[in-house]
């Protein structure tokens, strides 16, 4: 019959019209400002630098300015200048730290390759997406201070991943300490032989 297809179509839209009042599956709009989106744990936006202790972020930055992320970043939007002096890191070893660590968020496409290639878990992906500034050039160029965030914050946005990273770092630190203690013991046992082998930085 000529109109049957059209009538079936009208029935579908009628079902949706009625459904939108009682069936949540047929009323999918989340009104953004009032209803904040619950982002899944893996969701990523712009990167941030992890600092072990929130109180003194610049002091406890995990980043050792090895510039691997600067080389690997596809759009080349990370800019690092090494520090002249060294400071002890969490495991007590003397490490460099970044004097300048700037990410230009107008170029960064949050592809998280820097997180993937960073051997020191110093940079992780944030979940803040509503960042707008009035100044196109310097406003979006986030420097070291703006990028650094505490480990607790990292735990709050990526819980499972954060616990894994902490467990691994703790294990490495313990291994480094045993090696240092063993080396110290070896040095104590044979004070006369050549200078004690310098402890290798954890690979």
């Amino acid at each position: 019959m000529l109109g049957s297809g059209i009538i079936k179509g009208l029935a579908v839209t009628a079902k949706n019209l009625a459904g939108s009042f009682h069936d949540p599956a047929r009323y999918v709009t989340q009104e953004f400002p009032e209803v904040q989106p619950q982002l899944p744990e893996n969701s990523r936006n712009f990167p941030f630098l992890v600092a072990d202790d929130g109180a003194d972020p610049m002091g406890t930055l995990r980043c050792v300015a090895c510039q691997i992320c600067e080389k690997e970043c596809p759009p080349q939007c990370i800019y690092i200048e090494k520090s002249k002096d060294k400071k002890p890191d969490a495991a007590g070893k003397l490490q460099l730290y970044p004097a300048v660590f700037a990410i230009d968020t107008s170029v960064c496409m949050s592809c998280q390759i820097c997180v993937e290639v960073c051997p020191f878990d110093a940079i992780k992906m944030d979940q803040v997406f509503a960042i707008a500034t009035t100044d196109r050039f310097n406003g979006l160029l986030l420097n070291r201070e703006q990028l650094a965030k505490s480990n607790q914050y990292y735990h709050s946005i990526h819980p499972t991943e954060a616990t894994e990273v902490d467990a691994r770092l703790a294990a490495e630190r313990k291994a480094a300490e045993e090696k240092a203690r063993a080396a110290a013991a070896a040095k104590a046992a044979a004070p006369k032989p050549a200078a004690p082998p310098p402890p290798q930085p954890p690979a």
Partner: protein, 408 residues
């Protein structure tokens, strides 16, 4: 007459709500000296119509966006005012504030005149619709003819809009719009003829009176409940859709092809006027549809008489407008050649055959007794359904859902 309705005391004519509008009118005209009372009465009717239907237009735009939204599982405008109620106000302010760009090459006079003519004609069509038992703005003997005369003149305004903006797209679109309006004028009028024939008069109040009364107190004598009436109503409804450039036939403003058709060169308040004219046209056609087929202000059942007559008219009117919007949210658009072929090869023949069915219905009115009544219905139904399926099959000859095979 079946046993007197239980609400005998509430004689429909004397019910308070029924007479309320008349009391208001008499009070207002009473304020004027007797010589001016005739003028005051009519002016009051004009003012009421313009105010009521302008605000109805405002609410219709909101209702349309809400219904379309709900069909698409989203809320529709709900930011301006509670549940979006101030949205029409916002739209009105926006159109008033927007700059009214008139292309330099355009023909200034016609460019300005087109929307004005369109809106005034659309408003004139409201004069003859019977909104209630005593609420007929103008009591005309040839009311239906007047209504369609006003409708026919709108083509002129569409042409003026298309021609005046001096741009090849809008001229092309104006031509298409005219082709559509003219080819759907015919089925529109032809579907009305059986009603006039059986009601025996051209005046709208007469037609509504012809649909009075109920059998067994429950089934009303509306035209739509007779076989020829149902076919006529469907034809009228489809042609009304096309006449007011609505969903499956909204070719002139087909945004996927010629941007906004003959309205491309209009902006600001003139564009809003075109928009308003389209809604007035749609409401007027729905009003006429209700009057001709759905028994105007007649209540569907005897015992529902206590609800005032104008409430029934507007309930049916809103129902029809809702169906218009429902269709707009569902159906794709027809191409220009399919559109005209559909009108000339399907609607016009059906309308002519419907004339025959109505004539048969009129002649066989005398058949009494259940067996003859049943026969009368069956023959009429056959006269309607037969041509419909035959023509339908011929129209959709090459078009059918297909079955598919799978690769080896």
């Amino acid at each position: 007459m079946p046993p007197a309705p239980i609400f005998a005391t509430l004689d429909p004519d004397r019910a308070f709500l029924e007479r309320a509008p008349l009391l208001v009118r008499d009070f207002v005209t009473g304020l004027f000296p007797p010589s001016l009372q005739w003028l005051a009465g009519n002016l009051l009717a004009v003012v009421v119509i313009v105010l009521f239907f302008a605000s109805l237009f405002a609410l219709l735009t909101l209702a349309e966006r809400k219904i379309l939204g709900r069909i698409q599982n989203r809320p529709g405008p709900n930011r301006t005012g509670p549940a979006g109620l101030l949205q029409p106000l916002a739209d009105a302010v926006k159109t008033l504030v927007k700059e009214d760009i008139v292309p330099r090459a355009a023909d200034q006079v016609l460019h300005f005149l087109a929307p004005v003519v369109l809106v005034s004609l659309a408003l004139m069509a409201f004069a003859v619709l019977p909104y209630g038992r005593h609420l007929v703005p103008v009591e005309l003997d040839a009311a239906v003819l007047y209504f369609f005369a006003a409708g026919a003149a709108t083509e002129l305004a569409v042409f003026m809009a298309g021609w005046a903006s001096r741009n090849k797209y809008s001229l092309l679109a104006a031509m298409r719009a005219l082709a559509q309006l003219i080819s759907y004028e015919l089925p529109l009028l032809l579907s009305v003829v059986p009603v006039v024939m059986l009601a025996g008069t051209l005046s709208t109040t007469g037609i509504v009176a012809a649909q009075a009364g109920w059998t067994y107190g429950v089934i009303p004598h509306w035209h739509v409940l007779t076989p020829w009436g149902a076919a006529g109503f469907l034809l009228f409804f489809v042609s009304a859709l096309a006449e007011s450039n609505r969903s499956p036939f909204d070719l002139p403003e087909a945004e996927s092809e010629l941007i906004a058709g003959h309205l491309t060169e209009y902006s600001g308040f003139k564009y809003a006027l075109f928009f308003m004219a389209e809604y007035f046209g749609m409401t007027a056609l729905c009003g006429m549809g209700v009057t001709l087929f759905l028994g105007g202000w007649q209540a569907p059942c005897a015992f529902l008489e206590f609800i005032p007559s104008y409430a029934w008219f507007f309930a049916k009117l809103l129902l029809l407008l809702g169906v218009f919007m429902w269709i707009r949210g569902t159906l794709p658009r027809l191409r220009i050649d399919q559109l005209t072929r559909f009108a000339w090869k399907f609607l016009v023949p059906l309308a002519l055959i419907n004339l025959g069915t109505a004539a048969f219905w009129q002649l066989s009115a005398g058949w009494s007794g259940p067996a003859l009544q049943l026969a009368r219905w069956l023959v009429a139904l056959a006269l309607v359904a037969g041509p419909f399926t035959l023509l339908g099959r011929r129209l959709s000859a090459g078009v059918a859902p297909r079955t598919y095979r799978y690769a080896a």
